[in-house]
Symmetry: C2
Subunit: 288 residues, 2 copies
Amino acid sequence: MEKVTIKQLAKKLNLSASTISRALQDSHQISRETKQKVLELAAELNFVPNYHASGLRKKVSRTIAVVIPEVADSFFAQAINGIEAVAQEQGFHVLIYLTHESFLKEQAILKEFQNGRVDGVLLSITAETAHSQHIRELLTRGIPLVMFDRVCEETAVTKITTNDFASSYAATKHLIACHCKRIALLSASNSLAMSTNRLQGYKKALQEQGFSFQPADVIACSKDEADNYSLIKALLAPPRRPDGIIATVEKQATLVYQVCQELHLPIPREVPVDGFSNLQPEPFHSPP
Amino acid sequence: MEKVTIKQLAKKLNLSASTISRALQDSHQISRETKQKVLELAAELNFVPNYHASGLRKKVSRTIAVVIPEVADSFFAQAINGIEAVAQEQGFHVLIYLTHESFLKEQAILKEFQNGRVDGVLLSITAETAHSQHIRELLTRGIPLVMFDRVCEETAVTKITTNDFASSYAATKHLIACHCKRIALLSASNSLAMSTNRLQGYKKALQEQGFSFQPADVIACSKDEADNYSLIKALLAPPRRPDGIIATVEKQATLVYQVCQELHLPIPREVPVDGFSNLQPEPFHSPP
DNA sequence: TTGAAAGCGCTAACAG
DNA sequence: CTGTTAGCGCTTTCAA
């Protein structure tokens, strides 16, 4: 029992390939009877239409790509869950690509998307991503792209983010309300819009509550865990120890605990400001 | 600047399409010069070979599918990370499918894989999955399939698992060595090979150490968190409270804590026996 | 309502 | 080394 094709169905039913094709697509111009017969035979012979053939012809793939830095932290895992669920509902397939924070990989991956493999892209950019030529090129080629979580301001595409400004603003105000006197901000990376927005929210809240912004209270964490560890250790050193901390990333919160334990310090009041903890994945829009 | 095809390159260089095709594939039967020219023009015109066309011709997709129940718990997230990394290295693409523990979905998803979209499948079966007709059918069609983590004994395919028997055996012995007198096993589901193997390991260790196996000490947890909660609560009720627990799934360990807190009980000595905590993803083998 | 024919873009014999 | 030819399997005009 070799691979069954439309042609074979056609021969067995004394019909033309085009009729079979139409019947399978439930075309309005095929008689009930014929459809019936075709569907039956197809089921019997276990016919599965070739994906590449129809893709080549129709120029669609019913596939979207999700390009993210990593799936390690629970945020992206959740995101995948949500995305896949919606995609499956809509009959779409989901390709996963990890950039591991490498801009070059991001470029290479997006470049390949010009080949018809995907109909659309969900992108959460690299921390390294500074310009967006590669993104604009995809768009030029007519491939819709939506940025989520980590977006890049300069490009004119749909962006899905939590309101970074608002969340760090709220977090800061919350800590102040809890009588914190010195609030530090653990920030992720400087180039991302997310980071700057959060920084702004933090500043705004401080200012409104009559605190002065201290650049030394903002720690720019990097990819290197060891570095971050040192930075946090320095931050928590007694002389100017903060009594409140806003952590921008899950991992950093953990580091704070570690450092405190090691230094036998009381754990400061901490507020994590997470990516998308309450992400409601947007429904996809199939291409029109 | 419309989509560039091989034909266009051919015309511009006064060569045939086949020559271009060969040059792009770095065929041994094309002159240095020609290759050079072709590559240059291709780069200049930003040529990207059509995926469906070559897929249709060559009957490959350079794509593998990963079919898992959920990506929620960190295990599968890690798995995806590893799989994608290896795939990317080998120039493969990764499709993700979630079954949400539904056997019907699993079936439907595998069925579609007969259409040429994927070259291979990594499957971690549903808790519901009882028979393996759908799996065997895929294999018949020449699509390699590897089961991981949650495997199904009856099928003759490569399986990647931690040694379930050994790990629960070791865990049980460990608890006995810690002077535990009554050791409970929180088991996941009865039909999975993983569960039965773990149960065997547990029994073996008990027996070897002169303990008698008590069916009541094995709790078969279900999908329903609330149910599990009740079961664990009953288990931990004073009369025959275990002083050691082997938890088969991450989630269950958490439940135990919750129940103990609520009941103001001391937390029993607990040993989690996790899926693949130390999974070293196997390198893929591209099809020969 | 159905069929014939052409072609999506690429690759692989088979020649030369 | 390069060109010619013939499809991969399906969809879609255009005719009948």
